[in-house]
């Protein structure tokens, strides 16, 4: 059936089954490919978006569960002060290797900084342990979050 969802401030109408994961609506229906598919089971965090500011795994979030909530994706996270500071820190500290997981890492980090502007190492572990990076950029992710928190 038709669903209208608000993504990055714009309303989009899509005609898909109610149980279609938001991830595939973003990627395949709307062509917004910044949000990545990694596991399909909320185990890796590559698909993280914000729903009303809360970091959410879009691969297990069905389209019918979103309602009027505001969805924010990596394509627009730079419009928020936290997202912008994190993107700068990510580039300053050369966090990125293959880059595939980094959309999700940044989305989780942006939600963390919104809730906890000055995170401790334990806060970072808590917020970021759901995001897998096979290139092993974790050490730089931690440093970049701290740098962005000081920005």
């Amino acid at each position: 059936m038709a669903h209208t969802i608000k993504i990055n401030g714009t309303a989009h109408s899509v005609d898909v089954d109610d149980d279609t994961p938001l991830l595939w609506v973003l990627r395949d229906v709307l062509g917004m490919n910044g949000t990545k598919f990694g596991c399909g089971a909320a185990l890796c965090g590559a698909c993280t978006v914000h729903i009303d500011g809360v970091a959410t795994r879009s691969c297990v979030t069905t389209i019918d569960s979103i309602g009027d909530s505001a969805v924010t994706t990596i394509e627009a996270i730079g419009e928020t002060p936290q997202g912008k500071a994190l993107q700068r820190a990510w580039l300053d500290l050369e966090v990125v290797q293959c880059g595939y997981c980094q959309s999700g890492q940044l989305m989780s980090a942006a939600a963390l900084l919104t809730d906890t502007p000055k995170p401790t190492d334990a806060d970072i572990d808590g917020a970021m342990a759901g995001n897998v990076c096979r290139c092993g950029t974790y050490q730089r992710i931690r440093a970049a979050i701290k740098q962005a928190a000081e920005a």
Binding site: N33, G34, C39, C98, R134, C135, Y138
Partner: protein
């Protein structure tokens, strides 16, 4: 920061802004395609990786394109999968071409062995940590040839001796410094000049390098922090459908029954396709495709491998490893030396099958038409992909186009074309382009795995504890025999024994052999660190056993055997010094060391671990001392030390693929565990300054770290880990 200052002059005299020519028309499709997220702070940052194939009048060789507007495009022969080569290859070209890195665009090379073969691997293959070693000279030569031609063109215009002119930042100047011409303005003239032979041009003395050796910012990252980067999985082609695929859960099986009607009843599903070993559901979006695949309720004919289990495969290896194998090295008289030794040590080491689990799951987009086949994919082997598709479609090779993309991780997985083959088989039955995306479960259960290795070692020590005999028999699958058959000679797989046949130590009597054992029902392939990842664990662990048997400090023991090997000794000394080797550790903590020469690079690592009463292991710190010859980009070395270490630690702590009833038992990140941010150590990198030719770096730390960790566990607990991954049950403190 890795942004482009849009106000810098472009490579012409007229000071037209870069923005002006970027906006100036359809020349660079890549920019048009990546212009999303217009309100973000990075929207103004032009993507430096272009998907379009650039054509320009000045193309002095396969790697450089300069158009009249001054756009410099560097064609990247090797694939970018995170290891940083798009930046380091660009640095080699730009150093000699005399352009700044923010003045260049990078283009993925098309599939073409004649133009882009890796000189070491002799095909267009990104692997074995060879990119910089292979292209160190050719890319600098390519840059120098182009620069010479541009200078010659300017000198001709000015009617002066080219030797009096110089090039900098994309501009040629005359001796007086009053005449300037940008590369764009010279492109058409330079294109008319005869191109000198690559080896006829003088290369810069390394002391004059202005770019090589600097911490240049990566060129592929601004598009990776705002969702613009296009990986293989992100391809969008007009009219494209998507497919979810289920491959027989037992290798060698095939689909028996498929409920097509149920699949087709799912909204958005268009077609159900069968291949010999798989079923694919074609739909408008992946949500529908997956739902359709589940509804198809496929029943499988498991075929001949239905009862394969890990236990049986290990038993087979154990038995095979009792017989002599193909000799990789034989020096002195090992039997005699063993017989006469004061002390004899024997050990068996085992390493599991491993999946690659790249973050970007396997995927491939294919459009098969009557007289063409287009493939969009991130691959380490574009020409092998092209050949495989040509065979399947019966199209001539030139009718198969491979559009390579950024890879969301490679680690050797994308050295294989199985994913491309599956996709072409599906696409042949589909009208229009189709993107085949594997689920994570398919990705892990239909990987091609790092072989299970079963190694037997014996050593003899003299009365002073010095090794007088060393034997090492490697048993396992041969990847080389399948992948590069001509290089599998007399039963010997050089990769399977790499790191075993030539330990860096003085070992007077040494015998190393290899027994090929091909396990049924599980395909094997290269994995990050290839042969050394397995062998360095074994050799460095066993060396630690010898030090212990000799009642000597593991670092001191190794040093005594490295007198002839100054670079190995150099990294060992540095790692020991930086790690505080020898200082006291708390109860339950330990330090372990490993030394390695592989990929043209020397490394020593010291790991610090903590073993809890329940046997759980935490790695707190890894100190890396590395001598990789001349460093192209020190930040990349550090990044690869960090990332390579984490990749190796993931395997040593968690990594195992096991088989039961012919099926891989692991399926997703809850059963094939990746290391996460809350368990990773601090990784420190210390580099030795060197003028030697550059070594490889992408796999070095992965290969070296396992033994450093297990040796540290021994120091902490007195328990020797000879089977990976580490089993906390074995390390548990007895009550």
């Amino acid at each position: 920061m890795n942004t482009i200052d849009l106000n810098v002059p472009i490579l012409g005299q007229n000071k037209t802004s870069r923005r002006a020519f970027l906006q100036g028309g359809g020349l660079l499709l890549g920019f048009a395609m990546t212009g999303m997220g217009s309100k973000t702070v990075f929207a103004a940052t032009a993507a430096q990786v272009t998907e379009a194939e650039v054509i320009a009048p000045f193309e002095p060789n396969a790697f450089i394109r300069i158009d009249p507007k001054g756009v410099v495009t560097l064609v990247m022969p090797m694939a970018e999968m995170g290891q940083g080569v798009y930046t380091s290859m660009a640095m080699l070209l730009a150093e000699e071409l005399e352009v700044d890195l923010d003045q260049v665009l990078l283009q993925h090379a098309p599939a073409n062995d004649a133009l882009y073969a890796n000189p070491i691997l002799q095909s267009q293959t990104t692997g074995a940590s060879t990119t910089i070693r292979a292209f160190w000279t050719p890319l600098r030569q390519a840059g120098a040839v182009a620069r010479n031609l541009l200078i010659t063109a300017a000198a001709k215009k000015w009617n002066v001796d080219p030797a009096t002119c110089q090039a900098r930042k994309g501009v040629v100047s005359d001796a007086s410094g009053s005449l300037h011409l940008g590369y764009g303005e010279l492109a058409e003239e330079a294109a008319k000049l005869p191109v000198p032979a690559a080896d006829s041009v003088a290369l810069k003395d390394p002391k004059d390098f202005t770019l090589i050796g600097t911490r240049a910012k990566r060129l592929d990252t601004s598009i990776k922090v705002d969702g613009r980067a296009e990986f293989g999985i992100d391809i969008k082609v007009p009219g494209m459908k998507v497919a979810a695929i289920a491959i027989s859960p037992v290798f060698g099986g095939k689909p028996k029954t498929v409920d097509d009607a149920a699949a087709l009843a799912v909204k958005g599903v268009h077609q159900v396709v069968r291949t010999d070993e798989a079923v694919a559901v074609i739909a408008d979006h992946t949500g529908a495709a997956k739902k359709g695949l589940a509804a198809a309720a496929i029943q499988w004919d498991d075929g001949p491998n239905a009862t394969v289990s890990s236990a049986d495969l290990i038993k087979q290896l154990d038995e095979a490893s009792r017989q002599p194998g193909a000799v990789a090295r034989n020096e002195g008289d090992v039997e005699k030396a063993l017989a006469g030794a004061a002390q004899r040590i024997d050990a068996i080491y085992q390493l599991p099958f491993l999946a690659h689990a790249t973050m970007e799951p396997m995927n491939c987009t294919v459009h098969v038409q009557k007289d063409s086949c287009d493939i969009w994919v991130g691959t380490q082997v574009p020409t092998l992909a092209q050949a495989a598709a040509s065979k399947l479609t019966n199209l001539p090779i030139e009718k198969v186009k491979v559009h390579n993309r950024l890879l969301g991780g490679g680690f050797g997985r994308r050295l294989e074309t199985d994913g491309i083959v599956h996709a072409v088989k599906v696409a042949k039955q589909v009208d229009g382009p189709v993107k085949v995306v594997w689920s994570r479960e398919e990705d892990i259960q239909h990987d091609m795995y790092r072989p299970y290795y079963y190694d037997r070692l014996s050593a003899g020590l003299d009365a002073d504890g010095k090794p007088v005999a060393w034997t090492h028999r490697v048993s396992g699958s041969s990847i080389i025999a399948r992948y590069i058959p001509p290089l599998f000679k007399d039963g010997l797989d050089f990769d399977a024994v790499e790191g075993a046949a030539e330990p860096p130590y003085a070992l007077p009597n040494i015998h190393v052999d290899y027994v090929r054992v091909e396990p049924a029902g599980i395909p094997t392939a290269f994995w990050r660190g290839v042969g050394p990842t397995h062998n360095i664990f074994v050799v460095e662990s066993f060396m630690d056993e010898l030090a212990h048997a000799a009642k000597q400090d593991p670092v001191a023991y190794r040093k005594a055997l490295l007198g002839h090997n100054p670079r190995a000794l150099g990294v060992l000394n540095l790692a020991a010094e930086k790690s505080g080797w020898g200082t006291k550790m708390p109860e339950g903590h330990g330090r372990g060391v490993s030394v390695q020469f592989a990929f043209g690079t020397y490394i020593a690592q010291v790991a610090e671990v903590e073993v809890a009463a329940d046997g759980s292991v935490k790695v707190n710190r890894v100190v890396c001392a590395v001598d990789c010859g001349l460093v192209v980009n020190p930040d990349t070395i550090e990044a690869q030390m960090q990332g390579g270490t984490i990749f190796g630690l993931t395997a040593v702590l968690h990594g195992a693929i096991t088989l039961k009833d012919g099926r891989v038992e692991q399926g997703n990140f809850d059963t094939y565990l990746p290391m996460r941010i809350d368990e990773v150590p601090v990784v420190e990198t210390h580099m030795i300054k060197s003028a030697d030719a550059p070594g490889g770096i992408g796999e070095v730390a992965t290969a070296a770290v396992s033994a450093a960790v297990t040796n540290a566990i021994f120091a902490a607990t007195g328990k020797r880990v000879r089977t990976l991954p580490i089993d906390p049950g074995v390390l548990k403190k007895e009550a």
